[in-house]
Amino acid sequence: MQSLQKITSKFIPLRIENVDTDQIIPARFLKATTKDGFGKNLFRDWRYENDDETKPKADFVLNQKQYTGAILVAAKNFGCGSSREHAAWSIQDYGFKVVVSSFFADIFKNNALNNGVLPVTVTDAFLQQIFAQGSDDTITVDLEKQTITIDKTGATETFDINAYKKTCMLNGYDDIDYLLSMKDVIEKFEETIK
């Protein structure tokens, strides 16, 4: 897993609520048996007319050249629906390192964290402030300090992340490394619940 400490970047504003994982990555792209290359199918049906890459939909924000950056900012309840981790893979593969929203669905949040994508939950008011920024403005996310800042206005909020996940993210460790180191403890535990 890639580590993440601090990032300053322009952002892509996705002003849509309840973005479900079927929109993030439609089911027909789940036939893969590896984790690679999902970025090109991120938001596929919102990005292209009739699934045709030569016909991008001009009104969708990923197709609007003025918006770039490694931070995706979405309206509330982002990542609801199916538990497919492919949603996190496609966001990561597209190049996002941070997703900001005022509310995340549980499974998505876990999946994102497990793939080195940091979900940052902000207040509704702060989210609206971000949406009010121009396409050249940047935001800074500092994981160590747990802050998110709108660089032009200096407005800052702190965000929550549990200490364990934070350490994992900062260092690029994952849960599986940790669990593999716990095998003896788990074997002993098994004896107690038989």
């Binding site: 002003r15 849509i16 609520e17 309840n18 479900d20 079927d22 929109q23 439609p26 089911a27 027909r28 789940l30 036939k31 893969a32 048996t33 590896t34 984790k35 049906d45 009739n50 699934d51 309206a75 509330k76 309840n77 609801c80 629906g81 199916s82 538990s83 497919r84 981790e85 492919h86 996190a88 509310f103 669905a105 549980d106 499974i107 876990n110 999946n111 497990n114 793939n115 549990n162 200490a163 364990y164 996940k165 994952d174 849960d175 599986i176 940790y178 669990l179 593999l180 716990m182 095998k183 403890v185 788990i186 535990f189 098994e190 619940i193």
Partner: protein, 467 residues
């Protein structure tokens, strides 16, 4: 202070609690299927690790399988490769697989309970969000992502933060024509598609107690559609009666011992919940969804909200987007609207009782000639039972073909899809944009309301068709 049933099971399975972090939670049963497991298998291989407890894993192929001619090789090369990869991985790692052609094959959340693999008091996970279904037996069951599948492969544990506790009490008797699917659609419409995010839900109350196991599964199944981590119902005599004698259920002295343990699985009278919701069963009518998330639901005789009734600007924008996608007008009634497709199936409503309900409505009648159907049992066992009870003859006489077991048109992944712009009355659990195929317009209903649409070709009130 007492404990909830959730606390009792969860706490017993905590191997270690990390300070200001998640817990290491031990998993009793792990179900896997072809779509969310391959990357976990290759992940384990890459780390040079081995599967820790392969005997606690059960696999099936369901999402990506055809529902016609399962005896033939899968036509779509990618789908075939994915299913073959599952077969290889199971063989290599010594995992029990009920794959295509196996007599126990079916949707993972249908086969677990019917084979008696799902049991009270267990922790159960699967790389599929509707794992909450198994909670109907008083187990802590929830969906996980592929990284977590890999964690369970590696250690039979996952890292989880304990969710908050919610109880939803449904008291009273249901009206005629109202079934468990209506209860859950009603709850989600009431509290929204994100209303239970962060919570694990216990369903309780006299209306829940009165339900059969299969009806309970339908409710727990859709817990995730209001954002809940999972949903569960305390086991009772209904649960034990259902389980006794099932293939993998304990037998003899072991059964007696387990039974004694299971009877301890209830929420103490003085246990506290972070949130409680009370619902009167009499308020529930046959439900239907009109929008693009399961929270956008109303009574089948109701009216779609008007634009003026929504004040929040983002919500308004989303509502308009949903209206456009669904081809509906704010404020309109749905009753009488023609539909082109009826899908009866999915892990929500593809069990034998669902087919009995539908058969009871269509018996001796003909389906509307304009309606195309996808009628798909949840498992080979259900298909067998349909034949044993002669229900297949009723469907056949009504001009309806019954397909072979799988997820089918629940998700636009296998070949069963709904064409763009057409309406599908569906007993599944998700009405997201494109869920049943790009541009497909899904309306979620109970099997009874689906049966009504089968006969009329329209959105109909089943209550007017009951005698």
């Amino acid at each position: 202070m007492g404990n909830t049933i959730f606390d009792k099971i969860w706490d017993k399975h905590v191997v270690k609690k990390i300070e200001d972090g998640p817990s290491v939670l031990y998993i009793d049963k792990h179900f896997i299927h072809e779509v969310t497991s391959p990357q976990a298998f290759s992940g384990i291989e890459k780390r040079g690790a081995k599967l820790f407890r392969p005997k606690q894993i059960v696999a099936t192929a369901d999402h990506n399988v055809p529902t016609l001619h399962q005896e033939l090789p899968i036509a779509d090369a990618l789908s075939r490769f994915q299913v073959d990869t599952l077969i290889d991985n199971c063989k290599k790692n010594g995992i029990e697989l009920y794959g295509l052609g196996h007599k126990y094959q079916g949707i993972v959340h249908v086969i677990g309970p019917e084979l008696g693999i799902t049991q009270p008091g267990m922790t159960i996970v699967c790389g599929d969000s509707h794992t909450s279904t198994h909670g109907a037996f008083g187990s802590v069951a929830f969906g996980i992502g592929t990284s977590e599948v890999e964690m369970v492969f590696a250690s039979q544990c996952i890292m989880q933060t304990k969710p908050k506790a919610m109880r939803i009490n449904i008291e009273g008797e249901l009206h005629k024509g109202v079934v468990s699917k209506d209860i859950i659609l009603y709850i989600i419409a009431k509290i929204s598609a994100s209303g239970a995010t962060g919570y694990f839900v216990e369903y309780a109350g006299s209306a829940i107690r009165a339900l059969s196991m299969e009806a309970r599964m339908t409710i727990c199944n859709m817990s995730i559609e209001m954002g809940a981590r999972g949903g569960m119902i305390a086991p009772d005599q209904t649960t034990f009666n259902y389980m006794e004698g099932r293939l993998f259920a304990p037998k003899g002295a072991e059964w007696e011992a387990k039974l004694a343990q299971w009877k301890e699985l209830y929420t103490d009278a003085d246990a506290k919940f972070d949130m409680e919701i009370n619902i009167n069963a009499q308020d529930i009518e046959p439900m239907i969804t009109y929008g693009t998330n399961p929270g956008m639901g109303l009574s089948v005789t109701g009216k779609v909200p008007t634009l003026e009734s929504i004040t929040d600007p983002t919500e308004k924008q989303n509502f308009e987007k949903a209206m456009k996608y669904m081809g509906l007008t704010p404020g309109q009634t749905l009753l009488g609207m023609p539909v082109q497709h009826v899908f009866i199936g999915s892990c929500t409503n593809s069990r034998i009782e669902d087919f009995r309900l539908v058969a009871s409505i269509i018996k001796g009648k003909q389906k509307d000639p304009n309606v195309k159907t996808l009628i798909v049992p949840g498992s080979q066992e259900v298909a067998k039972q349909i034949k044993a009870e002669g229900l297949d003859k009723i469907f056949e006489a009504a001009g309806i073909e019954i397909r072979q077991a799988g997820c089918s048109a629940c998700l636009g992944m296998n070949e069963d899809k709904i064409p763009a712009g057409e309406y599908c009355i569906s007993t599944s659990n998700r009405n997201f944009e494109g869920r049943q195929g790009a541009g497909a317009r899904t309306m979620l209903v109970s099997p009874l309301t689906a049966a009504a649409a089968l006969l009329t070709g329209k959105i109909s009130d089943i209550r007017t068709m009951l005698n």
